[in-house]
């Protein structure tokens, strides 16, 4: 498992990747964001969560600097003891929510991924 972002021919990076990148750019490679530390741009602790989601569910938008190019990601936090500007690192989790409990077909997507842990 990796936290795969796409790199495009204009130098931009997005997470997740897209078939066509920003300004019509072509994907030319991938970057594993799980190898990087990032900074919390903003965060929340959500108490009204849907079926199969932990309650409460602390979430953050995190910005990574990959060789001078910034890319953002959203994900669960390992703790709600966090502030904007904190440094976090991705930590693997086998199952982020119960695939059987929500409206989506369990087979339609993956359910493992990375939570953000303050460094």
């Amino acid at each position: 498992m990796t936290m795969e972002a796409y790199r495009y021919d204009d130098g931009s990076i997005t997470y997740p990747g897209h078939t066509i990148g920003p300004n019509g750019s072509e994907p030319v490679g991938t970057v594993d964001l799980s190898e990087y530390e990032g900074e919390v741009v903003t965060w929340t602790n959500s108490t009204a969560t849907p079926p199969g989601v932990r309650q409460p569910n602390a979430l953050a938008i995190v910005e990574f600097d990959v060789d001078g190019e910034s890319v953002r990601a959203i994900g669960q936090l390992t703790t709600d003891d966090v502030e904007t500007g904190d440094t976090v690192r991705p930590v693997y989790a086998e199952e982020l929510r119960d695939p059987e409990a929500g409206i989506k077909e369990p087979e339609s997507q993956d359910w493992d991924g990375y939570r953000f842990e303050p460094v």
Binding site: P16, N45, A48, I103, G113
Partner: protein
């Protein structure tokens, strides 16, 4: 070109209703035919704005079912889904049908039945619009609101109370709306002490889950004059789309779809934000009222909260916003909400807004789908 007129409008009581989606749609549709004085066999196009009747109650094919039930056969019928902005997208589709010359009488009905589901289930249906990398983390629309509100407050040093004042204002406006889900005033203390939902936002920063329906009747202006002297004209309407993945937006406090659809609607109407007398904004969450005020040019970036604090968006202020009570107190039956915004603007322009009436010749409605993912802005003017 003949301008596109709105000659009739209706909406059901919003709230927790015993009726299922087809009954709600039929109730608003019938009332709109009556209000416009249009016979069923005069309807040439029927649009039904609805996000998720299949997911909520297993009812699909609502456009055909409603066309038959209202006996508008053989009118062309189409369901319009653009998530929370389905109603606004229905206005755009109805406008296109008349402006293109394809239809001389178009009925638009929006509706949703949601309250038989638990809050968690309804939240999950709505959250299914997110990207898989968002959905698997349990990201919901309310959590986007919490993330964005924190960023806005920290970046612009805005007081938390300014968001609460949006809720207080819209609940106060809803007191005079007999169709509103909550005709109940709330004070600042109640909002600020309500349970946390997605901090820093609390329960009263969020709209409720709602059943309801609303409808509008469109025709060319030359045809409108055969029915009534009191009609409104759609002088600007445009839609725009922003990123599916919300965190990929360059500035979390700017909704690109609001900015772009607003810009195009203003250009089409040859008007600017300073010309708008009354506005209905998509206050699914209090923070959205700030972001739309700024995206539509009613306030400079980072300053919408100051206008709210100064009372300028209240019923007797310089620019009354959400005279209907907004989604906040009126309720948010997804597919109906954009149509109900149109209902309020129409009512204000033709002088049928009752105790909520303000002095208005130009009205604007902004209907937001997802978290700004798809947006429709509509400008209506009173018939000269």
């Amino acid at each position: 070109m003949d301008r596109v007129a709105v000659i009739g409008a209706s909406m059901t009581k919003f709230g927790q209703r015993d009726s299922w989606v087809m009954d709600l749609l039929a109730e608003a549709g019938t009332a709109c035919l009556d209000d416009a004085g249009v016979a069923p066999d005069e309807v040439e196009h029927l649009y039904v704005s609805n996000m998720a009747s299949g997911e909520f109650e297993g009812q699909t094919g609502v456009m055909n079912a409603l066309a038959h039930d209202l006996d508008v056969l053989p009118a062309y019928s189409q369901r319009v889904d653009q998530t929370s902005s389905s109603g606004g997208a229905g206005i755009y589709a109805a406008w296109q049908s008349v402006a293109s010359g394809a239809s001389d009488m178009t009925l638009l009905v929006g509706g949703e039945k949601m309250t038989h589901r638990t809050t968690g289930e309804a939240t999950d249906v709505i959250a299914s619009i997110t990207h898989p990398v968002e959905y698997k983390h349990g990201v919901t629309l309310p959590s986007f609101a919490g993330l964005t509100a924190r960023h806005y407050l920290e970046r612009y040093d805005a007081p938390r109370e300014s968001l609460a004042k949006v809720a207080v204002k819209n609940h106060k406006n809803g007191l005079d709306n007999p169709h509103a889900q909550f005709q109940k005033e709330v004070d600042l203390k109640t909002v600020m002490e309500s349970p946390i939902v997605a901090d820093p936002l609390r329960l009263y920063d969020f709209c409720p889950i709602t059943d309801g329906s609303a409808a509008l009747m469109f025709c060319p202006e030359s045809v409108a004059e055969q029915y009534t002297d009191d009609y409104a004209v759609v002088t600007g309407v445009a839609g725009a789309t922003d990123t599916h993945v919300v965190h990929e937006r360059e500035d979390p406090t700017v909704m690109g779809g609001v900015v772009e659809s607003g810009k195009q609607a203003y250009e089409m109407a040859d008007l600017g934000p300073e010309d708008v007398d009354v506005a209905e904004l998509h206050d699914m969450f209090t923070i959205l009222e700030f972001l739309q005020m700024e995206g539509l040019g009613f306030a400079e970036p980072g300053t919408a909260w100051e206008r709210v604090e100064a009372g300028e968006t209240e019923m007797d202020g310089e620019l009354p916003i959400n005279t209907s009570g907004g989604l906040k107190s009126k309720g948010h039956p997804l597919g109906a909400s954009g149509v109900a915004q149109g209902y309020e603007i129409y009512a204000q322009l033709v002088g049928e807004a009752g105790d909520r009436q303000v002095d208005a010749d130009v009205g604007l409605a902004c209907n937001v789908g997802g978290f700004g993912n798809c947006v429709i802005t509509t400008i209506m003017e009173a018939a000269a």
